[in-house]
Amino acid sequence: MTREAAVKTCAQVLDNRAEALGDLELVRRSQSGSREAFSELVRRHQHLVYNVAYRYMRDATLAEDMAQESFVKAYRLLKGFRGDCSFTTWMYRVTSTTCLTELNKRKKRGEVELTADNGSLMCSTEHKPAEKDMKEQIRRCVTRLSDRYATIVTLYYLKGISYDEIAEVMSVPLGTLKTWMFRARKQLRTIVEKELTDNDAVFRTHR
């Protein structure tokens, strides 16, 4: 066996071992300074974190930046993670906070979102907004909810997250979460209604 092959086999064995470990064990190893353990945690949770970030930012590049930022933040804060909740739940919290902080910064700076999608939607004189665009527009409305409502709606519609887990992320009782969810839907409906009415008016003016 050549040296390269031996090294490759060793790396594979180590990778397999890392894969066999639970999240909490990997967290413990990361806390003791193992970069490989943290890398494995990133590999496991990257898709979930990216999707949470995408749902807040509604832009692939920004979502990647925010996902990166969230992992870096998690690495810095990992020493304070005591294992009271699962690492996934903790990562949801870190990602949500990172994205909301960025969104609030952008709101304060008065940055107006001007994407190609938006442009075509608002200025098209030929077609009414397609259903696909309309759905995307509705999804964008979620970011206009207040911080906590945006978080619960984003997490609720993400695959595989239970109400219990969202309540844990938000550190609130289940009953409170249900009330928030009810209010969030109501608020979202108002925003969507206004948005769709405005768009319809623009569409009629351009015609």
């Binding site: 999707n51 759905k135 009810f182 839907r185 409906r189």
Partner: protein, 140 residues
Amino acid sequence: MTQYSEPIDDLDALIEAALAEEPFLKAPLSLHRSVDARVRVISLREHEQRRFSVSMLTLVLLFSGSILLTGLMLWFTNLSLLMSDGVSGGKGWIDYYTTSWAMSFSSYQGGYSLVASFVLVLITFFLVGATQIHKFLYSE
């Protein structure tokens, strides 16, 4: 739970569908690599910070230790008395520095060397400290 999530009309159904049907995306391949690279930089930085703290602490401890030790030695051994009375010719030696210190330094060459040695010590400590700070600031 149903009383909160049941669609009421078309708009509610549309909102529900829009949010529920959003596809689960795959993270870009560059994400893992970028995070790994940034984590590597952070851990190197932390390592340098620790090294800096340890070296600065050692420096401060050595400096204060030597000052303290000198003070204690002078205090317990009563060195000035020992040198003036206990050593043959000691008084003259002390007198020599006291006089050279008291008078303008132009008269005695020994005064210059005494002050120069103090300055040299201060410069050494300053340089060692500055080197560590420079390493800390530009280590990345």
